[in-house]
Subunit: 111 residues, 2 copies
Amino acid sequence: MTVETINTDNVKAQMRKGILEYCILLILARNDAYATVIINELKAAKMIVVEGTLYPLLMRQKNQGLLNYRWEESPQGPPRKYYMITEKGRQFLQELNASWDELVVTINAIR
Amino acid sequence: MTVETINTDNVKAQMRKGILEYCILLILARNDAYATVIINELKAAKMIVVEGTLYPLLMRQKNQGLLNYRWEESPQGPPRKYYMITEKGRQFLQELNASWDELVVTINAIR
DNA sequence: TTTAATACCTTGTATCGCAAAGTATTATTT
DNA sequence: AAATAATACTTTGCGATACAAGGTATTAAA
């Protein structure tokens, strides 16, 4: 792997920081979901996330009151922890929408 | 300061991680500049950065061969360290442009 | 000589994403 | 009944980053 490739991967990872939290709320604003579903949705959108990243993030957002969860039986395997966005989460999501739009405008201005 | 505000500031700060490195290269791709100029340009684009963030970042990029610098006399005060982008920096910038575009597409897809 | 302005640099802290390894539950296979 | 496979959730340690705060150095003006 070349130095440049390592570099790009690292910067890409940094770019995603914070944006990941935004994506989770976007996904949960549409449907309740458990971790595997969220990971697959992100994968489909070309934003790869691993469990070790997602679980702590979901716990953080739950502790902040942005999310709640309920347990649901699974047809196969252990029960699933379905996360759902709270009213506070929706309000926060609106702020993040504004922040994201602002960021895009900023980059376009510099570009 | 409300909990929500602290939260938003934090997420905004996170969103900017990595993107800052991108912004520096964008600015230097147009003109050579020293730290104060870069900070002012970012400020004008609504992306606030402080010295303690910028100087280590410039040094990192210089060590990676993305930037070079030259000293220039100042009309008032100590000499200025003018940074300029290298050919390698321009190549890397193109990769970052692609990464950014991809990220925008991804967010729009989820949104 | 002191003060103000400018410019560069360093240290310590909090946070984040991720790799890796671990725990627990259920159904299937042997 | 025991072992295995599949699924799902959790934790630990690491490297990287932005920032606050404080420090150093140079020049001109008071």
